[in-house]
Each structure stands twice: as C-alpha cells, then as structure tokens.
Assembly symmetry: C2
Homo-oligomer: 228 residues x 2
C-alpha cells in the first residue's frame, strides 16, 4: 500500500521536521498536514536531509484525507480495552496487513498534547498503539512515528537471508578439530564431549562457509607448527 | 538481561534528553554517559518526564563499561557486508537473544556525527543496525534508540493474547444469519455462497464472544421488526 503520514493539528514545528526525517529514513515521502503550526527554521533543522519531504507536504482537511484513503489507521498513546474506541490492533501485524492490501493507507497522528480526538478515532478503520511501560507511556510523536514506520517497513521488506555453511562443511571442520585434539594429546575420554560442545557452538553461531574456512585455516596452522 | 544504554561522546544535549525519554517509555532506566557534552535546560526539556533517568545517569569511561558488561552491543547507521566490522546481527532477533541471557547488556551509541569508531566496534560482541532506506540511512540517535529499544522490549514482553469466540459461537451466528436471509427472501440459490462469504469475513476478523453477541443482537432486532 501507499503509506501516507497525516499529522493532525501538530503544535511543535520541530516534531513535524523530525517526523519528516524519520519518514525518509524508512523510505516514505507522503506527508499530509491538517491544520499545522507554522513551519520555520527549526522544523527544517530537525528534518535534516528530508527537506524534500517537508517541502512537498500537502495541506488538507481531515475530510479530504478520509475520502481519498483506503485504510485509515489511527494512533493512540493510550491503548483501550477490547470493546473501546482505543482497542488497539497489534502493531506487529500491521505491516503484514498492509503488505497484503492495495491502495492508500493513511496513518494519523494527533496533536502532541492531546492525541487524536474521539471523533477522529471513530473514523479510523484500525487503531494502533506502541506498547510502552505503564510508568511513562507518553512517547514523543516522532519517536512513535519511528517505531510504527520501522515496524511497517521491516514487515514489507524482509531481512536479507544469510547463507550458512553446509552440514558437510561443518563436519569437515569438526573432523579437522578432532585431528588437532589428537595431535595435542587432548585426553581421549574427554574428546567426544568437547567435540559435541564445539558442534553445538557452531550450530548456534550459524557459521558461513567463509568463516568455516577461516577456522580451518587456523587449525591447519596449528598442525603445521606442531609438526615442525 | 539488564539493559544499559551507553552514549559514547554525545554531542547534542537535546539528543541525550530524548534518549532518556524513550528509555523510560520502554521501561529502561540505566543510562551511562561516556565523555558527554554539557547537559543543560534543553536536555532536560527533551527528557520530558524522564528527568530521573537523566539525573541518575552515570559517567563512566568506555573501559569501565567494557569490563562490567556481559554483552556489548554496538550500533551502526551503516551496515557492513558479512565479514566486516559492521556486519549486523538481525535486530528482530536481538530481543529474543537478550531474553534468553542473564547479566548486563550494554547498547552503545556513538556520537551523532560520527557513530562508533572502528576501535569501539572491534570491542563489541554483536553489532546491530536499523534497516533503513538506502536513500537516507542516517537516523537521529534518539529515533534509532526508539526503534532498538522497542524491538527489544516487544520481544521480552509478548503481546497480550486476544480471546476469540468459540467455533460454536460462530456457528450460531451463521445459523442466525441464515435464518434472517430466509426471512428476507434472499434468493435461495445465492444463500450458500453469501454465508460462506460471511463465514470467511468472520474468520479473518477474529471476533470476540462479545462481538458475536452484538451482531446477534442486531440480527434478533431485524427479525423482531420483520415479524411485526
């Protein structure tokens, strides 16, 4: 889906700039401002290298946003109970949901001091909340935007997969280790246990083929010196 | 694990305050400062209701941090290739890793303009990176902290599970719907298809028992009016 970030009645220009920056960090550029504060030098300073996002931000009424969008996502700093207006949709699932839909998804953030009003939340298709400590749940708006946009972006662009060494590579590494243990006269009755230990360590650390080669290079060097 | 956030050579006091705030948002309080800038009014303003985190921050040398910690986690804005110093550990897995270990985990953030030096990264057990758009990968330090701490916190405190209605509840709802379709003379040959459609919609939306009751209340009301 096309992601649009909508700031409704933002009060502090620095936050508008900071939100623009974090949008660009995660590859989003569609910023819409509903009745914003004035944007001056501080907004632009906080936007850093996201001046383009700030400069191309559209001014709209909330009605225009609601009419054009396919999915309205409200945000709230206070999650409500199940049946309430603020009953949250799991943030961890939002990215998956969006990756399966087509159209415009508008993520609404309310004013820093008040959040979205009940009237606006009423219009939202889903409401999300960043789960925080109960002791201090109020996040800065750009921090909340960072977490929500990260969460969406990471669900839509899965992490690069890492190629691990083959089982045969690992077997050869263990065989090589076993030979070195023999050459250094490591107590025979302890060898099996140590090898199993090393096997498990390798399994946990998900060695790549090149890492296996590096380790075997070290083993070969040990053998070379032992034989001198 | 006990999470400690370590800011190494932070340059802007506002960022130190903002990091303190986001730490408290996610329930963390151990802030360590290595060679920080002066912390004045702006740092305290950005910390908002996390004054305690800022006030109890410890000043340490990097050496002291390295000696006391069980796991040193470096952060970098630029992920490196596999074999390099900046080869990142998957952020999505870090929280799980931490939840399975005991001791102190120190998350190091470098200076805003330079990040952690190669010398410091060399000391780190793992390096993490927030995956960003290649067009603008440089995040504000407090935004990066927000994402990383959120990621850790959400892995260590799993989301509340939602109780969905029983299959029998849903069957009764569908049966009730079927009766209403009959009463309104909905074309018989289309009923099965519509009911299946509704069944799938219910399945996707994970109705709670109380939501099923609400919907059945509406159906009963329809029947009541039809029979008048």
């Amino acid at each position: 889906m096309d992601i649009e970030v909508v700031l409704v009645n933002p009060v502090y220009e620095g936050n508008v700039g900071a939100v623009a920056r974090v949008m660009k960090n995660f590859g989003y550029s569609e910023l819409t401002l509903v009745n914003p504060c004035e944007l001056g030098a501080f907004a632009h300073a906080m936007a850093s290298h996201a001046q383009d996002v700030l400069d191309t931000a559209r001014r709209k009424t909330l009605e225009d946003v609601l009419v054009a969008s396919n999915l309205i996502i409200g945000t709230t700093g206070i999650a409500g109970s199940r049946a309430s207006l603020r009953a949250p949709y799991q943030l961890a699932r939002l990215g998956v949901k969006l990756s399966e839909m087509r159209g415009i998804a508008s993520i609404l953030f309310g004013a820093e001091d008040q959040g979205l009003s009940n009237e606006v939340l009423q219009e939202c298709d889903v409401v999300v909340n960043v789960e925080t400590s109960a002791k201090y749940p109020v996040m800065n708006i750009s921090h909340a935007a960072a977490v929500i946009l990260y969460s969406i972006a990471s669900a839509t662009t899965p992490a690069e997969r890492r190629t691990v060494a083959t089982h045969a590579d690992l077997d050869r590494l263990l065989q090589h280790t076993s030979e070195v243990l023999e050459e250094i006269d490591f107590p025979a009755h302890k060898r099996r246990r140590v090898l199993l230990n090393i096997k498990r360590i390798c399994g946990r650390s998900e060695l790549s083929s090149s890492e296996v080669r590096t380790l075997r290079g070290v083993l070969s060097r040990i053998e070379l010196r032992l034989r001198r």
